[in-house]
Symmetry: C2
Subunit: 430 residues, 2 copies
């Protein structure tokens, strides 16, 4: 585990702490926060298999597991071996790949499932049980005493086999708080490695998450894992709030695939954490591999990477408005907190449209080394671009034709006449 970036030598406790320099971080570190010290439990091969379109062959699971391992995720979570015969065999196969990531499987809180899980050779078992009053009534119908007794039996068994064990409730944000804390306290006491909070229905918001995790942090000593569905758009923000409050592990899947519209996406979480502690993320994860694993998974489940996907969506680094383009050309930090190169991506500044500005056009003039064109020339040409772009947007090639024609006509002082000749973008075809 990488140490927190702000860790200080304990022999030197009195020295003044250096403020953190990033403008996106608080000036002084919060000792409860794990923003700079978190782990990822990658669940594409469990939660992701619950996505409507998902049907992974063994070979595809192995390919995805290796690609995720190459990024550097800390854990891979697999479908329960109790689900089907192939699921059982896949747990075995992936456990035997010798990956750096620890292999987990996700099972119901049953002794039968736990025994099957141990048989597969996984490094740990993620045990789950529903605890909300909704689920107690309509799903398994067990009461809290029964749940606690069962949990202790299953956890003790898994620990006795020398394996890592997590105990999670389901639908935690609609569960009775006292029930929740009681059961977490009971399983912490018998040495569970992690407790898990799950927003199974996607109803939680960040301030609720912060409060629940902060409260739980004062009740248990073990690690805290969080799992967030995205039905109401908070899955990334909730993960962040959980880490701020002291959670240690976040569940993700590639492109967020899972039940309904899914969970915290791996790429989106990494974008968020990069904005909070770039160095920690760069040291630990290979961000340039995100695009590859997204392409593998998108193709396997037959979806298109969303146009607005974090980092890899095709317009994630495109700048369009004139005022943005001008500032970006002066200093990319003005409108970019994610450096495209760090993700193996590139920046694109769009200039052939009605929202363009003369600074962006001037920059293009400089790129083309049309050195004798002035700022006034740039302004004149910009007005023409806006006029033409009201008819249809101009490609960069169209803009270049206009710039070069203007430039060459300027040698004979004919440049303003040249501009007047253009009344339709089609005249700028290359």
């Amino acid at each position: 585990m990488a140490p927190p970036r702000d860790s200080t030598d304990t022999n030197d406790a009195d020295r003044v702490r250096e403020p953190i320099v990033s403008p996106y971080m608080p000036k002084y570190p919060d000792p409860m926060s794990n923003i700079s010290n978190f782990k990822i439990i990658e669940s594409t091969l469990r939660e992701g298999e619950q996505f409507a379109n998902a049907f992974f062959s063994t070979e595809k699971k192995v390919e995805i597991a290796k690609a995720l391992d190459a990024i550097g995720v800390d854990y891979l979570e697999l479908t329960s071996p109790a689900a089907s015969e192939q699921s059982f065999n896949d747990c075995k196969t992936i456990s035997n790949l010798g990956l750096k990531a620890k292999i987990l499987t996700h099972t119901r809180c049953h002794m039968d499932d736990a025994r099957l899980a141990i048989e597969t050779g996984v490094d740990g078992v993620d045990v789950v049980i529903g605890t909300s009053s909704y689920l107690r009534e309509f799903s398994h119908g067990k009461d809290m005493d029964y749940i606690t007794t069962k949990a202790i039996e299953v956890i003790t068994y898994i620990k006795d086999q020398g394996k890592e064990v997590r105990f999670s409730t389901e639908d935690s944000f609609r569960s009775d708080l006292v029930d929740l804390l009681s059961i977490y306290k009971a399983v912490d006491k018998i040495g569970v490695h992690r407790v898990g909070i799950a927003d199974t229905v996607g109803c939680a918001n960040p301030r609720q998450v912060y409060e629940l995790v902060r409260t739980l942090r004062s009740v248990v000593n073990c690690d805290i894992e969080c799992h967030f569905h995205n039905d109401t758009g908070c899955a990334i923000a909730n993960a962040y709030a959980a880490l701020e409050a002291g959670a240690t592990h976040i569940d993700t899947s590639v492109l967020g695939i899972g039940e309904r519209n899914g969970i915290t996406p791996l790429g989106g979480l990494l974008a968020r954490m990069y904005a909070a502690d770039k160095q920690y993320v760069l040291d630990k994860y290979d961000l340039k591999q995100i695009r590859d694993v997204e392409n593998i998974v998108a193709s396997a489940v037959d979806v298109t990477v969303p146009f607005n996907n974090y980092i890899t969506g095709y317009c994630a680094f495109t700048h369009k408005a004139g005022i943005h383009a001008k500032a970006i050309l002066n200093n990319p930090s003005t409108y970019e907190i994610l450096k495209p190169e760090d993700f193996g991506m590139s920046r694109y500044v769009s200039i052939g449209h009605r929202l363009t500005g003369w600074n962006a056009v001037k920059n293009r003039i400089e790129q083309l080394q049309l050195v004798d064109l002035t700022e006034d020339d740039a302004k004149t040409i910009t007005a023409k671009i806006k006029e033409l772009a009201d008819i249809r947007p101009l490609s960069l090639e169209n803009v270049d034709v206009l710039l070069r024609q203007y430039h060459s006509a300027k040698q004979t002082s004919n440049h303003l006449n040249v501009l007047q000749q253009y009344v339709n973008p089609d005249q700028l075809a290359v």
Copy 2:
């Protein structure tokens, strides 16, 4: 403006407040929160026009404006009339449509732009200026005194024309807090209608948003508008946190389109707010129209609605895992906080895959009225479905063939033999 749902008669201040019954809301209302009293400024025709692919003809803008008005959004924000000639004319055209929504345009903090805006006949002007040290250095280079003087001049002029006026900073979360509060206080004093906070680069997180809005709420009396980019996945959660802290207006666009990967999406925000105060959202907005406007915009900007889009993504209401399917069939609230019918959508429970469970299969048996099949039959068939689905997933039609064959064979006690005949899903082709 709809009154807050929790408003109490001032003549009856001593009576005990009824706790709010939804499990997703705090037990007692927070008087600062506008979760149950917010307005939407729909900016597809401004921020959305800054999306890489966007090029809206006048006819398309009118179509989008009418579709958004049909949903019931409070405001429509349009591209600055200073951007191009068509932009100017479009402000005029849309202002003259007689829509219920108020029409705004978004301009730089310049007198020239303000005069143009007034000429178009819009109901109000959203004025913006960059204030972060990044932008002061690399974008317009003005200092704070100059900004304040300019802001007062422009705001006073717009107010004198009898129009609504908002003053927003840009990149507010990287601006100096004292600078920010000073300028907001100055413009509030001269009677600006709204101040705006903008996370222009998408770096903000919900707790920062909550703190900044809460602080601002104690400094100004006017309304507070918030604008959030989604580069790091917090645009919806930040909007929610802002409303909790006392913000009054949220900027959205259809599918979130805007610069880079965009801003708070209209559909996603409505999903979030529905989860927080269903009745307020249902009373005020026509949620069944979301899908239509998304289709219009997606087609206009040549993108596909993302597979995992809020509400309208094709799997938003699909339930797959056996344990989920069972509970959903008993009571949809167990795994659903959004009622698909309220959005004109329908629920789909997927059962022909290796993660299926016998309760889901039993439910299908009941739907098909194969009344003499027992729970044991359902369990036997489920095991067979899991076995076949390890080869490939079964369509609902495949499952139905299996159920009907089993059912008819049971009349002659031949049902177990029938199951044995199936060793590949292709045998279940319809």
